[in-house]
Subunit: 462 residues, 2 copies
């Protein structure tokens, strides 16, 4: 007999009416009065479980009624619609095969657990309601991004993880090697001789696929990347991880205004896609993780994103009469406290445009004023910056002098500069931290709880 997944029962219960079916899954809880009882069974294919009704006609009734949470079962029974009951249907068990029973050593007993404890059993936490919701939303959110880009004619590009270009500043990048650390080959000056390493030179894990993405955008017009990103930041905060996923779209013949149109459209598409497909999971998050989540998401969908220059916003912050921990300045960054004020003031998402060039990356287009760049950050209420974007500098000479100003080594990326020589054109792109987006969608506060197995300083278990 072929196993029926519980998601199929919820999707089309009528198809199974009164049929004998086989289901498999794990016990969430068991209640019994000694003559009959109920198992709340989950197989993880749907947020909603299946109620199993069993009675003492089962040959192993005494074992079944004592089952512990987490036990794995295989059950044959009759599927019965129950239109007048709390749950829409139930399964009347004819046989319950206990595949593996857990006992009181099972780390996830029925009682509630703290998020901190659950991180210590990261290999088991996806079995809890909280992480069933979070990780299914994560999966569907990834599909939402793919769907948006593919339906709109973007080409998905797998940019490489390993790079020999240290233009981002190699102190931000992991170094990779095949050498034995305790037996490094040395050159005549006593320095490590990388000519003997696999790639014949020092190699790093890149923190961005943007440069390679630009090369593909200048061939396909519209591309996106979506892959893991590694950074060595030694930051123990709720929003930093050393390994996370990032999406980096790049669009040719597109200026910064066209870019903002795309970001707004994409953001709303993804949020709506996930709300449509994960209503149970989102409702759970709204109830148990972040009360007000649904209102926040609906509010965003109904809003028009504001577009304000950095200068305008610093004016606003200064005139607000508020006491700031970090004084807002025309040549400085926008702090968390400022972001909060700005999104509350405008009552919704805000694009911050025209940033002072000295605090932004070398590849951003310098505006005509010579002081600002065509960079854009998107701020969302309550979570702050979620997208970093810019029109790229396409003028060869300006780009080279910006790199010199910012001490970026051009030698390993001459090919990137060449993109400005060979059929170059205006183009723009952005980066989305995928985990931040999932945090926005679930209300989860700590990035460690939206990553399946988080890597953070001193933490590389599982």
């Amino acid at each position: 007999m072929k196993r029926v997944e519980i998601r199929c029962l919820h999707k089309s219960a009528d198809d199974f009416k009164d049929k004998e079916i086989l289901v498999c899954g794990w016990v969430k809880s068991v209640r019994s009065n000694g003559r009959f009882g109920f198992i709340d069974l989950s197989d993880g294919t749907s947020f909603r479980g299946l109620q199993i009704v069993f009675d003492d006609k089962l040959s192993n009734f005494d074992k079944v009624e004592k089952l512990n949470a987490g036990s794995s079962l295989s059950i044959v029974g009759q599927f019965v619609l129950t239109p007048n009951a709390k749950q829409p249907f139930e399964l009347h068990a004819k046989s319950v095969e206990i595949i593996q029973a857990t006992d009181d050593k099972y780390p996830l007993q029925k009682k509630g657990h703290t998020m901190e404890y659950l991180r210590q059993v990261a290999y088991l936490r996806p079995r809890t309601n909280t992480f069933q919701a979070i990780f299914r939303i994560r999966s569907v959110t990834a599909m939402a991004f793919h769907t948006y880009f593919q339906e709109n004619g973007y080409v998905y590009v797998h940019t490489p993880i390993i790079t020999s270009a240290d233009c981002e500043g190699s102190d931000q990048m992991f170094k990779v090697t095949t050498f034995d650390f305790n037996n490094l080959p040395k050159d005549e000056n006593g320095k490590v001789d990388f000519s003997e390493d696999l790639f014949g030179k020092p190699a790093f894990i890149t923190g961005s696929g943007q440069l390679q993405g630009e090369a593909f955008a200048l061939a396909f017009s519209k591309i996106y990347t979506f892959g893991p990103t590694l950074r060595t930041e030694n930051s123990n905060t709720k929003v930093h991880a050393n390994e996370f996923w990032m999406i980096e779209p790049e669009i040719a013949f597109c200026d910064v205004n066209g870019l903002m149109d795309i970001i707004e459209e994409m953001t709303k598409f993804v949020v709506k896609y996930v709300m449509d497909r994960c209503p149970d999971e989102i409702a759970f998050c709204d109830k148990f993780i972040y009360p007000g989540l649904i209102a926040r998401l609906k509010g965003m969908l109904g809003s028009t994103f504001q577009r304000k220059t950095h200068h305008e916003l610093v004016d606003l912050l200064r005139k607000s009469g508020k006491k700031w921990e970090f004084a807002p300045t025309y040549d400085g960054d926008i702090a968390k406290e400022h972001e909060k004020f700005i999104t509350e003031y405008f009552g919704g998402p805000v694009f911050v445009t025209d940033w002072p060039k000295d605090i932004k990356a070398y590849y951003m287009k310098v505006n005509d004023d010579g002081k600002t760049v065509a960079g854009v950050d998107l701020l969302l209420p309550e979570v702050g910056e979620i997208v970093g974007a810019s029109e790229r500098e396409t003028r060869y000479d300006v780009l080279v002098s910006r790199m010199e100003e910012m001490h970026v080594n051009r030698e390993p990326i001459e090919w990137y500069l060449n993109l400005r020589k060979f059929g170059g054109c205006p183009h723009s792109g952005f980066g989305i931290g995928f985990e931040r987006f999932v945090m926005y969608l679930t209300g989860v506060e700590n990035i460690r709880d939206v990553l399946p197995f988080p890597r953070t300083p001193k933490n590389c278990d599982f």
Copy 2:
């Protein structure tokens, strides 16, 4: 005026009939007779280009007629349907803005180039017809896998890249560090002191997400991973790269027979999805890269995959009367020459089941004979092995003794062993090398030509 993408013109030409539109793109070729001429324009959003008709009423006619391949243009003109001509429509240019003209230094002149040359200009090769076809097929193939799994209730899991478990054998894994190689901290014994490194211990780049995938399958029933994989193999072959993408599905309550059903269904789904969505690109590959490609793909779609044991196939190979470079043995691997014979003999894809346990991984379920494991390889005609699969060993004691036999260090993966204690159940999974699949779909022979920026020994440019 908002730019119209060429893919939109091909999708719904009637919507644009006789309208004035703006298009942007790159010159493929120009012909002119001194009074009027034609530009073959590509914007990369569709494999088919757009014919631009221009004449000497253009103020910059003399520049336009001399344009070189690769020049970037912005063109306003009238869109005209041409039902009786070779191409279905054309654009009558009113103005042609030359964004950036290339000259004879442009590395992709109109003449043909070898694949080897194009690898040297990997940042430009996506502009050629060949790589427009390959990389769009790659993108659509990725979406095909996502679509298959998401529509069938699988959860997409981002397993980590960085690991501290060296159970695969760390000689296959890259080592990562934040240390300065020329200034490594040492402990009292003169060994490198990793307690000062970011994770506080040695860290590696994993070559598989399977172990973590199993943990999630035991919570969600059906999961898949899809991400980059790094291996240090120093192999200069057509089918090895040090960085490639892999898909690793894992299914709970599924034995090796159920697994083969899934692999066959998935393979056909993906091939059909790509053929439906990339007819022009597949036709190009069939014509210029691998004559017979379409027949091969259609043949596969119409076939039923054979299921044969390793033992049966060795019998077959031995009785074939053929001279083998590598003699087939009952306890040995199946060589390339054997794979070729087997798929030709059966005239289609073949699952090889029940492998001798000593040449397979520790996590594969040991069969009742005690000699073989429930591992499966899928062989495709002409390309050989494309999927490696197995039912997993779920018996704690058997797994532990297999690890001991094969000298696998259990300490860093105690959590993995615990999955066999806490509600364990039969489960199975497989790995697909994504590049091999793209090679199968395009007929491309060398893995370097399906990777955007390949990383192979001594080769880490761009």
